[in-house]
Amino acid sequence: MTENRLRGVRPDRDAVTGVATGKPAKLGRRRGGKGRGGRRDGAPTVPDAEFTSYYNLPVINKPVWSSLDIAGYLFLGGLAGAASLLGAGAQATGRPALSQVSKAGAFGAGVLSLAGLVHDLGRPSRFLNMLRVFKVTSPMSVGSWLLAGYVPLAGVAAASSLSGKAPRIGMAATAGSALLGPAVASYTAALISDTAVPAWHDGYPEMPFVFVGSGATAAAGLGLLAAPVTQNGPSRAMAVFGVGTELAAFERMQRRIGMTAEPYSQGRGGGYLRAGKILSGVGLVGALLGRRNRVLSALSGAALIAASAATRWGIFHAGLQSATDPQYTIVPQRERLRAAAPPVGFAEP
């Protein structure tokens, strides 16, 4: 902007702002308030950290995904994947009713999860662009290809099982869907963890185990809900495996990640997760006690399905909360820097 004749007279971009006194920056205290920075019993989960933010605005942009579509997609993917395993096993061990129910459930859940994914797109008509490339760096790309392979297989397996036609093709499709099922149930953990959302990213080592556990719980619930008690031994065992894996992995994650785990026990996310735990417990006990009672068995199955859904909704909303509140982005990063660098001096060399 300086005219040529004035060049060198005014400093322009070389202007020196001023001589600061070198006083250290005042850091705001981490805000207190409802439930923040402490457990319900008042014991702090982590020591209060000091942090500064820009008008308390979030640092990252939170996901624009709708909870019905994407939390539903996480839940239904888990249900479908684990149900395919249950269906294949039931067929192999001569439990036709359990096999039919599981295969039909797997296909239905697969279709619905795909529908959720498409519905959530800003441009649903461009869904096929998902199959334009294959990228291992994008769990959503991997997942789209997985579902594109899995859903037709689950469909053929279910159709053959329900109609009794084309048993060989049905067998092959059952095997194929059982092979892809575990991947369908687990990749969604990488999908949410591969973001800058603190509660999701920090939990990445345990999240796949939470997800397969939750998927197994839902598939077991479906079997208990819709198949006769005489064929449901494996469903009851799978419920034990699912609830156990999910709760153990979740507990481990919460303890390990510290402060970023707060949204998992607070607010909307925390509420869903508590409901999930209660329903899991009730469903599991009911399933084991109601071994010969069709009604109790079915109710327990419904509770287990609801538990799995509540867990996914809880994780989804806890993630949103951790993205919206800047402290979950800033404080852990600041602590990482403090741990890596000497405590005094804020100017970089």
């Binding site: 902007m1 020196v16 001023g18 600061a20 933010s53 990228k135 760096t137 687990s186 800058a196």
Partner: protein
């Protein structure tokens, strides 16, 4: 349908693609490319005029992004988003700005005439920080890594651009960005962000914001040149006693492999709404896939065990 383009990472070497100091254009498949271009935003000379915001909006034909009064100093655009690709942050602080050198000679000391109410060290301590934020065009860009359609791509200039005719609005890039840059335009469904004026760069022009900046707070050029210039500027400010000055996003060894658009700040990054130690989320993706594989195997094992135990249960 066109043949499927198999992309494994962004190059043959996945490790190099996810970590450390690399040349992003080469990683992106341009063996012969122009130098990496970027921004050096020197906030110490920003005057908060918002010419960059306006120039960006005008050149890129960006729709209105909400006409609200926030009360956050002079900042009403609040942050980067789908329709805000340059954002000027304003921070008012009770800190001394100390002796300011306007570069012109005064015959009279007007401050003394006014009773000197804002002299340094008194209760009148006040400084106003202004900083123009923009997409960082990371060396390791999470938005680009996670995009499932290939809509986000690396240009020959090493920048990151969304192809709006490909984007299907899945929204994955939005929470992937560690800086909160890219966002969805609600009325249109797709994700939008700064292109570093790819159209202007392609014909040898500088980006609109840098062109419009009256104080050269936004400097555009080859990244290695900007880094040298920034180092010299930082040394000059430190020499002058501005101990608060620091570079942000300059270091190619940081969590995103260095930013294509980096900054000189006068306070901690979080004061300006920037993450203090951002890390590209895909750095952990190899480990995530390993855990997913083990979990999938655990599910198979659990199901097999369920059929063994299920005979008795």
């Amino acid at each position: 349908m066109a043949p499927v383009d198999i992309q494994i990472g962004r190059g043959p070497n996945l490790d190099g693609a996810l970590l450390g100091d690399t040349d992003p254009a080469t990683q992106g498949g341009y063996p012969d490319h122009p130098p990496r271009m970027g921004f050096f935003t020197d906030t110490s000379v920003c005057i908060g005029c918002k010419a960059c915001e306006v120039a960006c909006k005008t050149w890129n034909a960006i729709p209105e992004d909400g006409l609200v009064f926030t009360g956050m100093s002079m900042d009403n655009s609040q942050g980067l988003g789908a329709s805000t690709w340059r954002h000027v942050a304003f921070i008012e602080q009770r800190k001394p700005v100390a002796a300011q050198d306007p570069g012109v000679v005064h015959d009279q000391n007007v401050l003394e005439l006014a009773g000197n109410p804002t002299a340094p060290g008194t209760n009148g301590d006040f400084r106003w920080l202004m900083a123009s934020d923009v997409c960082k065009h990371c060396t390791h860009a999470a938005c680009l890594d996670v995009c499932p359609t290939g809509s986000l791509f690396r240009t020959e200039f090493g920048t990151v651009v969304v192809q709006e005719d490909i984007c299907n609005g899945c929204g994955y890039c939005i929470p992937a960005c560690p800086y909160g840059v890219i966002d969805q335009r609600k009325e249109d469904g797709r994700a939008w962000k700064c292109t570093l004026c790819y159209d202007r760069l392609s014909v040898g022009q500088e980006p609109a914001c840098a062109k419009a900046c009256p104080t050269d707070s936004i400097q555009f050029g080859p990244l290695d040149e900007l880094r040298e210039r920034a180092d010299a500027r930082l040394a000059r400010l430190h020499e002058a006693g501005v101990a608060d000055a620091r570079l942000y996003g300059r270091d190619p060894q940081d969590g995103v492999g260095g930013d294509g658009a980096f900054f000189l700040l006068l306070d901690e990054p979080e004061v300006y709404g920037l993450p203090p130690d951002p890390v590209v989320t895909t750095r952990d993706l190899p480990s995530m896939w390993k855990h997913v594989t083990v979990a999938a195997a655990t599910l198979v094992g659990g199901a097999l065990a369920a059929f063994v135990a299920g005979r008795r249960l």
